[in-house]
Subunit: 506 residues, 2 copies
């Protein structure tokens, strides 16, 4: 009995068929173009996404073969982007993706008419242009015909389930990303929808993640190569937002532990067991929403310069290392990181090479490198970059702890988890044990765990995670080195306040 | 009739025989080791220096041939280092070079017992460990036998003239570097020497630069291949401190113009026609002393990271450019600078990669690079370095102007003057015309001009400079680009105040 996890991202869709022990039986991936009808706008054509989703499912199922047919399916997906559909299920417009800034007027309106604090206390979301509610308001104001004709507005997870044959259903984590969902009451917020003059009937029905909501229709199942039993395809189960799905796939199923995903971006997703809506959370721009593991909540702390800083180094100064990689067949990043010593760099790097994530949410900051001398080496330069992104995440761990979300242990996935040098830096700087995992597609795995729990393959989501998530290596803080990092981190904290205004003017 | 200019530096001695039109007939160069009897100490063995001086003179004279015999000789030299000699002219100890910091207690004593302001008003020197007076006091306190036995303490220019056969004579510019010379009265300061309890008889007799003081002795002349006429060798003429000698060699013979020498270090030496002893001079650590051109005064504004920043770049990130230089035969710096655009870099670089020069005199600052983004290119990085060192010198031009030393035009020499890209940056950032010169050894040329004026080869020092200094190219500020640099420079000025404390703690 196999399980299909789907992850609908901003640039592509991945579908993976997992055996119940977590082994990958087959996978498929398709990309779709991000559309820019105006320079800063960013949209997806929902039909492009649906075609790519179908193709990736078909590919995954074909590769998995017929020995272990898919029993249940759940989606993980990007948040916030919503697609208006008519009664026949036809998309009426493109979906506006998360980082499209066109909803600035709507954001300002909420700030003036309600205030951030009141919105945060109900929804757990610190007011930002990204949320679906503002996108719906934008459609209402700028595309009145679309709004009038719309039957439902669906996020990509919901839209996927719906197109596979299910009802319009959304999970709590995804609903949280709309900024229209009452976190504690677990329902759409009547006062927020009423203030925005949005018809509640336009929204899908909220369910906890891992809820069975229907089946793949026979016709779609046949089209995709999925099994048809008793006149219908596999069970459809509510999945979740990609970050908590990834966290589940990394085994984050109890309070106090967090996923640390380092790819281009670095994102820490901790779990906790009650809604945390303190001032510290709002001030530091931490959202609070439902985890996909039952009874838990989560937040996301992130930096947009995780691995992207090393890629910048490679592309700017790494000619020699690239050549070395070509000749030796080694990974270029391993060669680059090999130059970095295991102790703190004398340099301090403010890693704001692009818009910051939490806790600053500063779109106008810039990167800075401090402490250069005529004897600064390439190795110290590279190590400074790695230290800098890690200090920025320590800043987040400290801010989260201060806001009421303590984290005692991290589980690392993504490209950053492959480097033992970087992993040891994380353990030393964070002063917490960091585990690397043997998980490459955590979001799909998390969705598959939800699907499997819903159909009885696993006794519970926790049991499933314990069964399928394998720890590879454990990195412990080295007290003597950690003390040196502490010293540097103390200085690091002063860089942004000292330079903020100057960087804004550059 | 040819002229011999000698330049006795910290690492080596250069001797050049010039034709009266400035053409080089022959040159010689010898290095000597810098001695470190204790880790931070730095000394020269005066016998090493004298042997190297003789060898470089012999080489220069031999290469020049006998067609145009040397008529007069003047020395240019490093300042501050003094050698105690006995009545037989034998050195009694090594000389302590300029940047040796052992005189910190003597500096503190002067600050407490006299104050910086009073010393500055008499000598034109902002109190610092480097000056000869403090070195004499150190010898008196730590090597009492040497002090007791000493007949004279001579700076390297004086010592060279003396060993060639002249009397113990020092020029006004060199005397200024001792911090014991009364700038306005043009004599050793009785009150300073008395306060320091230094016997005035230990010091050589001060003369204006370009004063005939004797002849090379017949025996030394024969040893060095110099002509002997009427029982003695060529005329000996007082030269000067290397910076003003270089300035003269760059044609700085009237108020308002300055030499900009960019080698490893960058140094701006302007001329002015009266002693400027304003608070602005002292606050910004600008000395004021006699120029070697008659009736003029000069100061030095400098940064220890001029060309050394590009050398750091080459050695750290320039593998590819070095390879390109090897293959193409082009100069590696030309290749590196070729990547830099002609407009301001979006980056701002605080060039304090080593101890700063003026106006900060900060031994604890560090370098910083601000404004990095994921799209920052290698060219922008290099250009940032060039812009940064140039902004630092603009800071000096502005501070000098505020202190009463306006500069309307610069004449550039050294490695930096070879790059048309860098020269245009200087013109644009300084908002002043910058001339590049066809002069490679300005200090020796300046000394030769003094020698030639003293023996009647030229009508005056000014006439000589006009005759021998050739302008190569003129760079004018481009108004539109200069306005862009102004904008960046306005931000640059804020970096050091914002980061000073943080950099001190790194």
């Amino acid at each position: 009995m196999s399980l299909l996890g789907i992850d609908v991202g901003t640039t592509g869709c991945k579908a993976i068929v997992f055996r119940d022990d977590g082994a990958i039986l087959g996978s498929g991936y398709r990309e779709y173009p991000l559309l820019h009808p105006q320079p800063t706008w960013a949209e997806l054509d929902p039909d492009d996404v649906w075609e790519a989703t179908k193709e990736s499912i078909r590919e995954a199922v074909t590769r998995a073969g017929s020995g272990d047919p898919v029993k249940a399916i759940a989606p993980s997906s990007q948040g916030e982007a919503m697609t208006p559909i008519d009664r026949d299920g036809r998309p009426l417009a493109n979906s506006i993706v998360s980082f499209d800034p066109r909803t600035a007027p709507q954001r300002d309106w909420w700030e003036q008419t309600w205030g951030k604090q009141r919105l945060f206390q109900i929804t757990g979301m610190p007011l930002h242009t990204m949320y679906s509610l503002l996108k719906m308001q934008w459609v209402k104001e700028n595309q009145p015909d679309v709004y009038r004709t719309a039957w439902k507005f669906l996020c990509y997870g919901d839209l996927t389930t719906y197109r596979l044959g299910g009802p319009p259903a959304i999970d709590y984590s995804m609903a949280g990303r709309t900024m229209a969902f009452d976190l504690k009451a677990c329902r759409w917020s009547p006062e927020i929808l009423s203030h925005a003059d949005i018809d509640p009937a336009l929204l899908p029905e909220p369910h906890p993640s891992g809820t069975p909501v229907g089946h793949v229709s026979a016709s779609v199942a046949e089209e995709l190569g999925l099994p048809v039993v008793d006149g219908h395809g596999p069970l459809l189960v509510t999945g979740g937002h990609d970050q908590p799905c990834g966290a589940l796939g990394a085994g984050i199923t109890r309070p106090g532990i967090a996923m640390d995903a380092t790819g281009t971006v670095e994102c820490i997703t901790p779990a906790f067991d009650h809604p945390v809506l303190t001032d510290g959370m709002l001030e530091n721009n931490y959202c609070c929403y439902h985890h996909v593991a039952p009874g838990l909540y989560c937040t996301i702390a992130f930096s947009f310069t995780g691995g992207s800083l090393l890629r910048w180094y490679r592309d700017t100064f790494g000619d020699k290392e690239a050549e070395e990689a070509r000749v030796s067949g080694l990974d270029v990043y391993e060669i680059i990181l090999g130059k970095a010593g295991s102790h703190p760099s004398p340099l301090l790097v403010l890693p704001h090479f692009t818009v910051t994530g939490t806790p600053w949410f500063d779109p106008h900051s810039k990167g800075a490198i401090l402490g250069l001398t005529l004897s600064t080496t390439k190795g110290e330069f590279v190590k400074g970059l790695v230290d800098g992104v890690t200090y920025e995440m320590r800043l987040n761990l400290d801010a989260l702890e201060g806001a009421g979300v303590p984290i005692s242990e991290l589980r690392a996935i993504g490209g950053g988890a492959k480097s033992s040098i970087w992993m040891q830096v994380k353990a030393d700087v964070f002063r917490r044990p960091v585990y690397s995992l043997d998980v490459s597609e955590a979001a799909c795995l998390g969705a598959a765990i939800l699907a499997g729990s819903a159909c009885g393959v696993y006794g519970s989501v926790q049991e499933a995670a314990d069964c399928v998530v394998c720890v590879k290596d454990k990195y412990e803080p080295r007290e003597d080195v950690a003390a040196l990092y502490d010293e540097k981190y103390r200085l690091f904290r002063r860089i942004y306040p000292a330079l903020k205004d100057l960087l804004h003017e550059m």
